[in-house]
Subunit: 312 residues, 2 copies
């Protein structure tokens, strides 16, 4: 399974930390110290997860041919429309008839969950060229006034063309991936929630999310390496879910890896949900060197996690 | 792939057509003539897609052992929580660690989309005992005052244990299934929508939904039979998506099948979204005879469709 191309989109409006200082007294220094976030992007009025889907699909079309896509998998937990899902919107934009389309919502782990769904369709021979879209409009469901988590969130989207067979020398090889739920843990279903009819995103037990994210992402990373017969010495980059720079650094410490091997965009975009890792992959795409190995690892509310080994 | 057991849950409150007569003047006769719906169920305050998930999982536990479930797939377009999804809630209730959990939202076709995701995990040998949950809380996102579609919706849920290998003589065999998107059609992305932040469910082009549902469900049913080397003469029952009794009858007419072969519960429950077919399967489970064949076919907003051949 290969990543043939990737694109991303970020809304133009930049919201700096000083916005939250004015709103609720949190200083920029405090936000940076606790989260690493300096600024985030906010979708404009009229923008949403479906418009950003069209944006990233259009940008992906500029990079590669999408006319023979035979599967679309969308992912978001901040949906504009739960009936006309991201996958439907993308199919409508592409105008391709009668291919399977499905959208998923497994919180911040959805990027790897979506690719695992694709892996299943490939194994069934029901598809061989899949379009994956991750798109989050956190700011519309966010209470900016919330001192606990109001300053964490940003908006953004990405799209990937994933193919069963290698299309070109430049493709990134998805060597292996795994996902798992950690909802058996005590606070999994109450730590961070997004209830559309009851006030949107809330995070009553952020510390529990922090602790579990710091445990599960290293654990999943080691598991996927072990399955591939590799060790941390074989890894060039770790790309963790972009939730909090302190979590990312904690993951690197647990794995005894230097910060040069960490890929991070949360400083500029905040927590962009399941889109964060894919946006980072898109931004860095041209800078990777042949043979480099990237472990992408995710952890999301609910809880669920995943890890994926990608070889350039 | 086999359905080993199925359970369902319906809220206790019954809402008859006279409720809508009082609300907006629609007569019961008019509603029955146009939709077949006599009454529907409404979730109580405090009930939602996640509580109904626990209800159906508990009922399924009364029928079969769920301790060795190794995959959970949830489906809803009326989510209580998009971060703590149905699949997370079910995992939390079961207390099973580290299995893949994923929730999907592909509107009313999600029941078969969810089973196709399971089929993929089985093909990958990443799972062999899957819990599938379909749960809809339409009434919370519905505008009852809406004369076009306010009277259509009902609440309900179902759960299924799907296994890769046959567990017992009583298992129903999923012989084959297919899904497809029809979002390439002109009004697919505007005909019926569910925007959590913009008023919930709306159906500006109900006639277009009607026409496409009447075309795609017979077409998908014939496709799945053809793939299995069977014809309509081999089919004992058609179980279409429970959207409207006139659509269901139109499907039967197109297939030249008598109404005795139609399975329908919309009269009593209204449109229960992606849960409708699974609730009907659960209600009728004990009445099917060995060797009977059921074609389940779905069509949902967005649009997407599917068909599945089940052998008792």
């Amino acid at each position: 399974m290969y990543i043939h191309a990737v694109s991303h989109y970020l809304p133009t409006e930049v919201v700096g930390n000083e916005y939250f200082t004015q709103l609720n007294g949190l200083s920029s220094e405090w936000i940076i110290e606790r989260t690493g976030i300096v600024e985030r992007r906010k979708a404009a009025p009229g923008e949403n997860t479906n418009t950003m889907t069209v944006d990233v699909v259009q940008r992906l079309m500029d990079k590669t041919d999408l006319t023979t896509v035979d599967l679309i998998v969308g992912a978001t937990y901040t949906p504009y429309d739960t009936i006309v899902s991201l996958a439907h919107e993308a199919q409508h934009h592409l105008g391709i008839a009668d291919i399977p389309v499905v959208s998923i919502s497994t919180a911040c782990s959805s990027f790897i969950n979506a690719i695992e769904v694709v892996e299943g369709y490939f194994a069934l021979n029901k598809a061989s060229r899949a379009l994956v879209i991750v798109s989050e409009h956190n700011t519309v469901y966010n209470n900016e006034q919330d001192k606990v988590s109001g300053h964490l969130w940003g908006d953004g989207a990405a799209a990937l063309l994933i193919t069963k067979e290698r299309q070109s020398e430049g493709d990134f090889n998805i060597v292996a991936l795994l996902t798992g739920g950690a909802a058996h843990t005590a606070k999994a279903t109450t730590a961070v929630m997004m209830k559309p009819m009851e006030g949107g995103v809330t995070m009553p037990f952020g510390r529990d999310v922090f602790i579990n994210a710091c445990q599960y992402m290293p654990k999943a990373s080691l598991q996927i390496l072990e399955r591939c017969g590799l060790t941390l010495a074989d890894v060039d980059y770790i790309l963790p879910h972009q939730a909090n720079l302190r979590i990312s650094r904690n993951v690197m410490n647990t794995l005894s890896l230097p910060e040069e091997k960490l890929i991070s965009n949360i400083q500029r975009y905040g927590n962009t949900g399941c889109a964060g890792c894919a946006i980072a992959l898109s931004e860095r795409w041209d800078t990777f060197k042949k043979g480099e190995r990237i472990v992408i690892t995710v952890f999301g509310g609910g809880y669920s996690y995943g890890a994926m080994l990608v070889e350039v």
